[in-house]
Every structure is written in C-alpha cells, then in structure tokens.
Subunit: 158 residues, 2 copies
DNA sequence: AGCCTTATTGAGACTGAGTCTCAATATAAA
DNA sequence: TTTATATTGAGACTCAGTCTCAATAAGGCT
C-alpha cells in the first residue's frame, strides 16, 4: 500500500513549488522525514476550498478509490503544516477547529446566520496592532481577529 | 438537597445588583426560570479570577463541603450566561474554551511561553473595525482579537 | 398558601474530536 | 545496501461537552 518516495516520484510531485523548499527546510530543522503521506495530504489541501476541517481530509482518505491515510496521520500532519506556517487554524462558533492554507494574512468576518466566512485585510489594523504590542513590550508572532455578526445577504433577506 | 427559592432567599442573594435586572429580563424573554443553581454559579463566577474553564466550576461544585451542582447544569448555565452577555468565551491555543465575565470590552495578548493573558483596549481598533464592517455591509455583534507571542517578562528572561 | 403547568435538575450513558501506543515499515544518510 | 531512526496505521483510549429521562422546582394563578 505504501509507496517508496524515490527521486523519480519526487521529480513530478505536486509540492515542487516554492512551498517545497520552505517545507523541506522546516522538516530538516525538526529532523523530520518527507513521506509520501505528507505529500498527499499537502497536495489535497492545495486542491481544497480554503477553509476545511480535519474531518474533510480524513473522509477523503478513507473513501474507496483514494489513497488511504489514517486519521492519526492526518492530525499529525496538520500539526506539522501549521508549525511550518503553511496552514493556519482558527475556531468558528466555538465548535470546530478549522484550517485554511495561508495565502496572504487576513482576518475574518463570520456570519452567524449562514456561516459564510468573509476574509479581509486592513493595513491600519496591522499597524495599530504593532503599536499596541510595542507599548506592552510584547513580541507578536501572530494574531487572529474574528468579527461575528450578520452578512449583507442575510441582512437583506428580510 | 435542592432549596426552594423563595422571596426571603432572593432578598439577600448575591446577584442583587444591576446584573440581576439584566439577567432576569433575559430569562423572561426566554421563558426561563431563575433557579438556585443558576444563582450559585453566577455567584461563583463573580468571585473567580477573570478567566476560567468550565472545569474549574465543575470541580468546585463537586468538592465535598460545597453545594453540589452537576456538570450538565454548569455547561447549560454557562451557555445561558453567554447568551445573556454576562460572560464571554474564547479559545486559547486551540485547547480549551475559556470563559471570562464581561467587564468592559477588551482584546487579548497571549504569551505562548508562560500562558499569561494580557488584556488591552484600543479605541482605534474599534473604530477601524466598524469602518471595515460598514464597507462590507456587515453588521457586527462582537469580535475577538487575540494576539499571540512572547510577553515582556519571558523576553527578558534570556 | 396551595395548585398546576412547564422548565430545570442530576446521574450517568453517550458522542466524537483528537491523542496515544506499538509493532511494522519507510526514510535518509553513509 | 545497510543501519539507525522517524513515521505509519489500527484501534484503543481520553475527556470535553451533550443528551436522556424521571424526579423535582419555579412561577403564575386563584
């Protein structure tokens, strides 16, 4: 079932872009090995919609016809990918932990009527946030801003 | 074990401040009843440190010597209190759902070395956030901003 | 104060996301 | 190719949070 990951396979693997380098570097620093499973999971994440649940991946890799990867490995890999800053996680409505792959930094508006997630980015927020941290002598390495409320579509619906 | 909640008991109950009115009004709108358990939980929350876990309350109410309130009731009541905007919840480090009682609105800096939570409030953030929402036609009813990183004490430690 | 309807409670079973274990296997480096 | 070490999968396990349901309490009404 498991395939060996030789040079030929690596040659046309999906993560053969600039993320590979970043990720390999990260793996090296952690003395980790690049496995076939890790590659497949990364590939799938790249294909998926931006926000996904661990369970989405698990189901995919359990479906007949697809390569099988265990739930344990999916969770383990997600942690690695997050540490390597290739994906991000956040909570919505206190329910599930969702992931998204990192593109540019952005924050979220979450409609608690239809569940839609709107991404936005505002330079001013970033700047002010930095100023606040400086004031407190706090060295930020990331932040999350989630605004919950009602989106324009749901507001117009009545 | 359970006590009846008559006028006399109500007379010197702890929630006999302005929060009582708010909360009673809320209970009315939901056709809920003010119970002895609910009161005790609210009282304990007022005494507790600002940030607490459901488990903190559960343990307290399981300890010999204290009034006993079941874990189910604790969880149920926390949900009610959150709906009534008396407490707030948020996630830290993707682990647990923490609660805090609402004082003034504020955001968080979370040190991922010592776990300390620093609260801050900045008017500019609030204003800009409002502007962004307006742009998107989004009607916000709350937001969470958590900045993670290293606090000044931990930075000085080396 | 007592009655009556309806909401709330507690005990404990249950759920399900996430973790852990460990033998088998794959990787990387020499 | 060999060797040392990291990773995998299956499934048991954990534990925060939910659910069920019979017993009980709250609150409105008289």
């Amino acid at each position: 079932m498991r395939l060996s990951l030789n040079k030929a396979v690596m040659g046309n693997c999906i993560i053969n872009d600039n993320k590979t380098a970043i990720f390999n570097a990260f793996l090296k620093t952690k003395w980790l090995k690049l496995t076939w499973e890790l590659e497949k999971i990364l590939q799938k994440i790249m294909e998926m919609d931006e926000h996904f649940l661990p369970e989405d991946l698990i189901q995919y890799f359990e479906q007949a016809g697809n390569e099988r990867i265990s739930r344990a490995t999916v969770y383990r890999t997600l942690k690695l990918l997050e540490e390597a800053s290739i994906i991000n996680s956040f909570h919505i409505n206190d329910d599930f932990k969702k992931y998204e792959r990192i593109k540019a930094h952005h924050d979220h508006m979450i409609c608690n009527e239809c569940g839609k997630i709107i991404e936005f980015y505002d330079e001013r927020l970033e700047r002010i946030q930095k100023e606040i941290c400086d004031e407190y002598g706090f060295k930020a390495d990331s932040h999350i801003m989630n605004i919950t409320g009602k989106c324009i579509d749901c507001r117009n619906k009545r």
